[in-house]
């Protein structure tokens, strides 16, 4: 460890014990084409919490998540999962990507997609047994998609596709769930179904982290927030960290006056 790494943006000490934190970032910097989109960010996810990652467009929310998962390689900084390096702990993490990242004309049915979430169990050659199918169906039932098991995924609406992705994540039986804009472009029924499942996961003691952009639902959905605009702008329980001042600092001039007014009125 170099001396430079000792001083991170929030002045966190390096020798801290992170074994309780499902996910911790220290001094994480990610750049696309030589320009940092996430700069020296510290984040500590509390176990059993439901955290919303909040920030304006282009603030690096999705990038932060992808770097935390090793999907993009950070330029600097360190990621720990229950205190361990990411590579060892991958099987305890489930990730639900943005819907746009997949070719929906791919010839696969809903049930097959969910079974892909059980690859660690199935491996290369093990046959898919009735108990595997039963578990996959159980996950589909949790998101209300049990009647669609044999549909080709391209025939589903956007919201239904998102629920199938969530079912695939559930099939992993993970302890930490990371979701990238799970509510973007979905119908109200899907939004309600997804938030119901996420809250149930939290109540089971799992940890949920979701990139979120709808400020009006933050208080209803999450118990913690992480505010980001390229740098860490705030972190903590909704009641203390999701304040008008913090939002103003995060969004700058981009936060519409209407919303600020609504927040202060409510």
């Amino acid at each position: 460890m170099s001396a430079l790494e000792l001083i991170t943006d929030a002045g966190q000490p390096v020798a801290e014990d992170l074994s309780q934190a499902p996910l911790a970032l220290r001094g994480l910097t990610v750049s696309y084409h030589d320009e940092p989109v996430v700069f020296s960010v510290d984040m500590t996810i509390v176990p059993g919490s439901m955290t919303g990652i909040i920030g304006p467009n282009g603030a690096g929310k999705s990038t932060l998540l992808k770097a935390a998962l090793g999907i993009v390689t950070p330029l600097a900084g360190r990621v720990t999962v229950w205190g361990q390096p990411l590579g060892k702990m991958r099987d305890r993490i489930a990730y639900v990507p943005q819907r746009a990242s997949v070719d929906w004309d791919f010839p696969t049915q809903v049930l097959d997609v969910v079974l892909m979430g059980m690859y660690r169990e199935l491996g290369l050659l093990r046959r898919v047994r009735p108990r595997h199918v039963a578990h996959a169906m159980e996950c589909l039932t949790r998101v209300g998609m049990q009647d669609f098991a044999e549909r080709q995924i391209g025939q589903l609406s956007g919201g239904q596709q998102q629920r199938v992705f969530l079912a695939r994540a559930l099939a992993q039986k993970a302890d930490l769930y990371l979701l990238d804009e799970p509510f973007a472009g979905v119908d109200a029924a899907t939004e309600a179904a997804i938030i119901g499942v996420l809250k149930a996961l939290r109540d089971e003691g799992k940890t949920v982290v979701a990139v979120h952009h709808d400020l009006s639902t933050v208080e209803a959905y999450f118990d913690r927030v992480f505010l980001i605009n390229r740098r860490r702008m705030g972190e903590g329980p909704v009641a203390t960290a999701f304040t008008q001042d913090a939002l103003q600092a995060t969004y700058g001039g981009r936060l519409s006056d209407g919303f600020v007014a609504r927040q202060s009125a409510g």
Binding site: G70, I71, Y95, D103, P107, D112, M116, Y119, L124, Q172
Partner: protein, 400 residues
């Protein structure tokens, strides 16, 4: 004659060729399906063209070492080496420079092929080169196929198939959602590399039968044809392998019916025939089925709109709507509704009103999103729910 050919009655050599071509077709079809699902079909074009310089160099080296330049395993090893180099260049250019993969493929394909052709010309001028017969590897030449050649091809095909089967899950996961696959512990890069190696193996094995220019057809055509028949990836792979094998077998048999018919090109033509058939008649995604479905929906839309117009006493201007109503006996030739027509019109109107009512019903309005103008409300609601809806409709009717 054709029947004789199809039942392998045309002699020993024809039977050997058919065996080799079938094994190659199955392997190429199965591997090609994964390549197609991974959207990397064109890479096979670069790989196959990149075999030529290696083939020619292997010949030259073997002649210089004083052995027979036509030693097949030596030629195949040389072609595999240069295919590797071509593949590595494509992947290096598309990852490390800002060139897109298609540009990299084009560059590698043409440069390697051009260099290979130059080497072939050089070989022609060598004393040992005149009988080299290396041109046979361009379009395949099965005339002098030996028992050992056929068995080599069949064994190669089997190994490729076994590896493809073992890797089917990571291959499909990487093709569908590479990011998720990586999260699940699939080493997507290595899996991709393995797929390319399998493609290379098929190409090298197929040099003798269809040649390096046409092997691409066997890797791509069965896969795209198979896609018409299924929406399940594993079935697409199976069907693709079957279509590839069928093309290989039928093509080899056909080419044996007359002297000097080129086997490779005929195999490709058979594969194309299977593709064209699939494109036309496959249920679901085929052109005919699509056109038929489109027509049925169009007719139902016109019928529904016509009935609603009748119910509201509006004039119908569209010729198609009028024809459909008349053909079904719902209107007389002068456009006036028959008794059946009036009944159907009032049923359509009732359905429409129920949908309207459904949209206003608070706890059921979610279901109203399934209204597309054609779905009958009976398919969405139970009869009890419809009765409840009708209860809300009744006073409005009375008021009107």
């Amino acid at each position: 004659m054709l029947a004789d050919a199809l039942f392998l009655q045309l002699g020993y050599n024809a039977a050997l060729v058919a065996l080799g071509a079938t094994a190659l077709g199955i392997a190429a079809g199965a591997v090609g399906a994964f390549l197609y699902l991974r959207k990397r079909s064109l890479v096979s074009d670069a790989i196959s063209h990149a075999t030529l310089p290696g083939l020619a160099l292997a010949f030259i080296v073997m002649v210089l070492l004083g052995s027979d330049g036509r030693f097949l395993p030596g030629l195949l090893a040389g072609s595999a080496l240069s295919a590797w180099l071509g593949l590595w260049l494509v992947s290096w250019m598309s990852h490390r420079t800002r060139l897109a993969e298609d540009a990299a493929i084009g560059a590698v394909l043409s440069v390697f092929f051009g260099f290979g052709i130059v080497l072939l010309t050089v070989i022609q001028s060598l004393p040992a080169g005149r009988q080299a017969g290396l041109e046979g590897f361009l379009l395949g030449s099965t005339a002098g196929m030996l028992r050992s050649d056929a068995l080599t091809i069949a064994a190669g095909g089997l190994v490729v198939l076994a590896l493809t089967y073992a890797l089917r899950r990571p291959l499909l996961m990487g093709a569908f959602d590479p990011v998720h696959a990586r999260m699940m512990g699939v080493a997507t890069r290595q899996v991709d590399l393995m797929l390319m190696t399998l493609v290379m193996a098929v190409t090298v094995v197929g040099l003798k039968v269809v040649g390096l220019i046409l092997i691409v057809a066997l890797l791509i055509i069965p896969a795209v044809a198979a896609r018409f028949w299924s929406d399940q990836a594993e079935r697409v792979v199976l069907i693709s392998g079957a279509l590839g094998g069928l093309s290989g077998y039928t093509g080899a048999a056909l080419s044996a019916t007359a002297p000097d018919l080129p086997t490779g090109p005929i195999i490709v033509l058979v594969a194309f025939g299977l593709f064209a058939t699939s494109l036309l008649v496959a249920p679901g995604r085929g052109l005919l089925a699509t056109a038929l479905r489109h027509r049925q929906v169009q007719q139902r839309v016109h019928l529904r709109q016509g009935l609603l117009a009748l119910a509201h006493g509006q004039p119908i201007y569209e010729g198609l709507t009028r024809r459909i109503l008349r053909r079904q006996g719902l209107t007389r030739p002068d456009g006036v509704a028959t008794r059946d027509g009036r009944a159907a019109a009032s049923r359509a109107l009732r359905d429409e009103n129920r949908w309207q009512a459904l949209r206003r019903t608070e706890h059921l309005s979610e279901l109203a999103t399934r209204d597309d103008g054609l779905t009958r409300i009976e398919d969405v609601l139970t009869s009890d729910q419809i009765a409840t809806l009708d209860a809300t409709l009744a006073p409005q009717k009375g008021g009107a």
